[in-house]
């Protein structure tokens, strides 16, 4: 088990040069790929929490995610055959009229690291395009909208309403972005609000648990 702890430490400290070797050692020591994946996902959860508590900086979160990605490459062959457990699909994008993507990308990265299958729609995404994508993926679990401008908050509202009213599948709607507050999220009918990339993961997991 100490090898698993070492894997966790490599992710948490973002040791991009060492992680592949340590993951391989863990496999050699008898840990299975799923166990290693779970350990890495847990660690990314901790990293996200530390970020939410202002204990670490953005690059530290980025490098942890990069380390996890490199670790994942080592176990992927085994996971494909054993079908690693996934939390489900998450469609994410920045709403129409808004070109900001740094925060949205961080959220996408953290949600992906936590075990979701992320479909990133990019920025300036029209409401109809979101809805089409939802229809293409009726098994989607979370739809996440980002908006960074006060001027695009109406677009956020329109996106949430369209998503809630489209008669497809069974998913929850998550919103976030600098001007967005918990109150505003409630007001426009979103199911969840995330203040930052760390809490986005926690909220997304809570949302799918309530599905």
């Amino acid at each position: 088990m100490s090898k698993l702890n070492e894997v966790k430490e490599m992710v948490q400290k973002g040791r991009t040069k060492k992680i592949a070797g340590v993951v391989q050692e863990a496999l050699d020591a008898g840990a299975d790929a799923q166990e290693i994946l779970d350990a890495m996902v847990d660690t990314m959860g901790d990293v996200g929490d530390a970020f939410s508590r202002d204990e670490i900086f953005v690059p530290e979160m980025l490098i942890a995610a990069k380390a996890m990605k490199l670790g994942l490459e080592v176990i992927e062959p085994q996971l494909a055959s054993g079908a690693g457990e996934k939390l489900g699909k998450c469609i994410i994008g920045t709403v129409e009229g808004d070109l900001h993507d740094i925060g949205k990308n961080l959220v996408a990265m953290m949600i992906k690291s936590s075990g979701f299958d992320v479909i990133d729609m990019g920025v300036d995404v029209p409401v109809d395009t979101f809805i089409e994508k939802i229809k293409e993926n009726p098994d989607v679990k979370v739809v996440a909208f980002s908006g960074l401008l006060t001027t695009t908050m109406p677009a956020l509202k329109a996106s949430v309403e369209a998503a809630k009213n489209c008669d497809v599948g069974n998913f929850k709607v998550l919103v976030g972005g600098a001007p967005v507050t918990e109150e505003y999220a409630d007001e426009i009918g979103a199911d969840g609000y995330a203040q930052d990339a760390g809490s986005a993961v926690t909220v997304a997991k809570e949302l799918i648990a309530s599905l």
């Binding site: 973002g14 991009t16 900086f57 690059p59 530290e60 980025l62 490098i63 990069k66």
Partner: protein, 267 residues
């Protein structure tokens, strides 16, 4: 950035006083403090009368080594003193310095040829400090050719192009930056060093000038410097510049140094 801690130098009045009074604790304290903030070398320069320079160097080196494992930069204008004082060191350090002046290279290069010692080489010769970039580059080439003869790899050599004073030579500072760029082009593995504070002599509020120059010099190839490692703002500027020049993946060194309280608002 390779940091050569400058604080143990007899030309600094408080250190001269400590040497005179044989104040061991004062010297040890300077060594400990510079070690704590991660200096890569501790410069030791006696700056006393010739007759007592060697014994003073021994006294200083012994004191430093009693409290620190950081390699020592043996600093004297006299190559013979550098050579003899290097024997007091319990691990390879840095000879500070040689140049094409007199027989300095002949005294030092054979001594360090088959060792791990590194060396600072100043771009001057018997005619003094050259006025033009071309002359300095010529001296550089001669020094590198001699180093090659002794099998001293470029990565063990720190070239000091000799920083000009801004107040008397505005163009001189630009010239030095050109020299740095040219050296890096000719010999990418060689280190470029300098005494950052020379640039600001005779100007008010010198530290700002030193910091501006350090940033420019780093972009021109400076990767080693003689400076005060306890100067928190200067250290912060250096970490920030490394990151800005894409020499610091994910800003990890910058963040780590901040956490270790090397710069920033004192914790």
């Amino acid at each position: 950035m390779i940091i050569i801690g400058e604080k143990i130098n007899g030309s600094i009045p408080s250190v001269a006083k400590a040497i005179e009074a044989k104040d061991e604790e004062f010297i040890k304290d300077l060594a400990i403090k510079q070690t704590e903030v991660g200096a890569d070398f501790l410069d030791v320069c006696a700056s006393v009368k010739d007759e007592i320079e060697l014994e003073t160097m021994k006294w200083l080196i012994d004191l430093v080594q009693s409290v620190s494992d950081t390699p020592i930069a043996v600093d004297s204008p006299n190559a013979a003193i550098c050579a003899e004082a290097s024997q007091f060191c319990n691990k390879p350090g840095l000879i500070n310095s040689v140049s094409l002046e007199g027989d300095k290279i002949e005294q030092i290069f054979p001594l360090i040829a088959d060792t791990k010692w590194e060396v600072v080489a100043l771009l001057c010769d018997d005619t003094g400090i050259p006025k033009t970039a071309e002359q300095r580059i010529d001296i550089f080439k001669t020094i590198m050719a001699q180093a090659k003869e002794y099998g001293i790899a470029p990565s063990r050599i720190h070239i000091d192009p000799l920083v000009e004073m801004l107040c008397t030579s505005e163009e001189g500072v630009l010239m030095i930056l050109d020299v740095m760029r040219e050296i890096k082009k000719l010999e990418p593995d060689v280190h470029i060093t300098g005494a950052m504070s020379n640039v600001s002599f005779n100007l008010p509020y010198r530290r700002i000038v030193n910091m501006g120059f350090t940033v420019l010099a780093m972009q021109a190839g400076l990767d080693s410097a003689v400076l005060d490692p306890l100067d928190r703002d200067l250290r912060g500027i250096i970490y920030a510049t490394e990151a800005l020049l894409a020499n610091d993946e994910y800003c990890m060194d910058y963040i780590e140094a901040y956490r270790e309280d090397i710069f920033g608002i004192q914790k």
